[in-house]
């Protein structure tokens, strides 16, 4: 009985050694983690830019007094979010890559994930903008501020604060969703782990990758909490 336990422990530690330490393999994980984070950060930053623009387009297009131009813009934005949210991300990635404009898979990933993230972030921002009382806009406009200034100085800052938890959730989700980058041979953390596993027939790399994702997500959650606390200063009564 005792010897059986020892054997399990023995093989586990041997697996770990071979998966992590032998031949400086840990360096591969660090590189993979770097790629994963880079992809997630670029995707979400791109997503935020796209998302804000699309959300504003939809918001102005949905107003009662919207002109034909805003209505057309809103239609295009609707089409974009519908298509992106209605098809699998792997497929979107493969399609983007197949356009072969990108010499490297990494760029295809950044563009693909960014476009994908933008659709979800657009919905987040749209609900954020809608959550701000119309009285805020009226107060801004009645002071003589333009529509644009009222949006950028009064509505958006409050909307961003409201959507921050959802936005961070999107970022956290994106960190994990970039794991499909391996489909087009980009060496993110999942790809690194699975190729080590495939080479040496050990499963420890998968667990190592899982722990790395978990640590990243936990760290991000902490940043999220801190940010929310800072933005919540004006709420204290």
């Amino acid at each position: 009985m005792i010897s059986a336990k020892l054997t399990i422990w023995d093989s586990l530690s041997k697996d770990l050694y071979r998966g992590l330490i032998q031949d400086d393999r840990w360096k591969l994980y660090i590189e993979g983690t770097g790629v994963t984070l880079l992809l997630a950060v670029v995707a979400v930053l791109m997503g935020i830019v796209i998302g804000v623009l699309v959300a504003i387009g939809k918001f102005y297009g949905s107003r009662r007094a919207a002109g034909p131009v805003w209505r057309a813009v809103a239609k295009v934005c609707d089409f974009y979010t519908t298509v992106i949210r209605g098809t699998p991300m792997v497929l979107q990635l493969l399609i983007i890559y197949s356009l072969t404009v990108w010499s490297k898979g990494t760029y295809a990933c950044m563009i693909g994930f960014g476009i994908n993230s933008g659709a979800y972030i657009a919905e987040i921002f749209r609900s954020g903008i809608n959550s701000i009382d119309i009285g805020q806009t009226e107060a801004g406009r009645s002071l003589g501020l333009s529509e644009k200034t009222t949006m950028t100085r009064i509505v958006l800052p409050q909307a961003i604060k409201n959507v921050l938890p959802a936005l961070f959730n999107e970022f956290i989700a994106m960190v994990k969703e970039t794991s499909i980058a391996g489909y087009i041979a980009v060496r993110d953390i999942t790809k690194v782990a699975s190729s080590i596993k495939g080479t040496y027939f050990i499963s420890s790399p998968l667990y190592i990758a899982a722990v790395i994702y978990l640590v990243m997500v936990l760290l991000l959650t902490r940043v999220q909490k801190r940010l929310e606390r800072r933005l919540g200063r004006s709420d204290r009564g």
Partner: protein, 240 residues
């Protein structure tokens, strides 16, 4: 100063204003009263085009503000507005609430605007709150800040949309006191209100809006003592 000609406003099939023609002179304090749903708030909100009139004309300081080529932002700078629910900007400090518009519109430098904000806050006894956020103020304090936020733009006329309706009873007095002060300083104002005593005391003219038209108007003494319109008589008997 403000000339309204045959103003109509509909929301879909619901005709809220059915032809209002009215002139408001500089220095007048006009109180607008009427039952809820009568169109009195809509009338006020049309004056600075927060509501887009369906038809009619509104002239402000010699300009037709419904004209296509008019810069409504420029006109609104001269028309301060105070809302029932204050509408302070919760993400900005009290000081920033007051200085945002004048600085952004390049009417004042930041330091000029700060000085003006401090002077106004001092006037209402809230200078020590300058760097706190709206959430830390009472309702009455919020509304007084909202009033000086509008004042910081040096408007020619102030529009009040039920400024005390959302306040706890014990805070109504401080807000009315401030409005009364402005009135005594000669500010032109239009006030939609349910405070009959206040209307009687401060207004130079009281208007009864009902069913989308001005049913009756008069100097406050005559208006309240000898109402002629039967709807006004029944309204006053309910609220007085």
């Amino acid at each position: 100063m403000i000339e309204v000609k045959d103003l109509c406003k509909s929301f879909g099939d619901n005709q809220v204003l059915r032809g209002i023609t009215e002139t408001i002179e500089k220095g007048e304090k006009v109180a607008v009263i009427g039952p809820s749903g009568s169109g009195k708030s809509t009338f006020l909100r049309c004056l600075n085009r927060l509501e887009e009139p369906t038809s009619g004309e509104i002239w402000f300081e010699g300009q037709n503000i419904l004209a296509k080529d008019v810069n409504i932002d420029k006109i609104r700078q001269k028309m301060g507005m105070v809302f029932q629910h204050f509408n302070l900007f919760p993400h900005l400090s009290i000081r920033q609430n007051i200085t945002l518009a004048p600085v952004n519109l390049k009417l004042m430098s930041q330091s000029e605007a700060d000085a003006r904000a401090e002077q106004l806050l001092d006037r209402i006894g809230l200078l020590d709150k300058a760097d706190t956020y709206p959430a830390m103020l009472s309702g009455g304090q919020k509304q007084r800040v909202a009033i000086i936020r509008a004042l910081a733009m040096n408007p020619d006329v102030m529009l009040f949309d039920e400024p005390t309706s959302a306040l706890d009873p014990e805070m109504v007095g401080e807000v009315l006191d401030l409005i009364r002060e402005l009135a005594n300083d000669g500010m032109t104002m239009v006030i939609v209100t349910h405070e009959m005593g206040f209307a009687r005391e401060v207004a130079t003219r009281v208007m009864f809006v009902d069913e989308g038209v001005i049913k009756e108007q008069n100097a406050p003494e005559e208006f309240f003592s000898h109402p002629k319109d039967p709807r006004l008589q029944s309204f006053l008997s309910k609220v007085l």
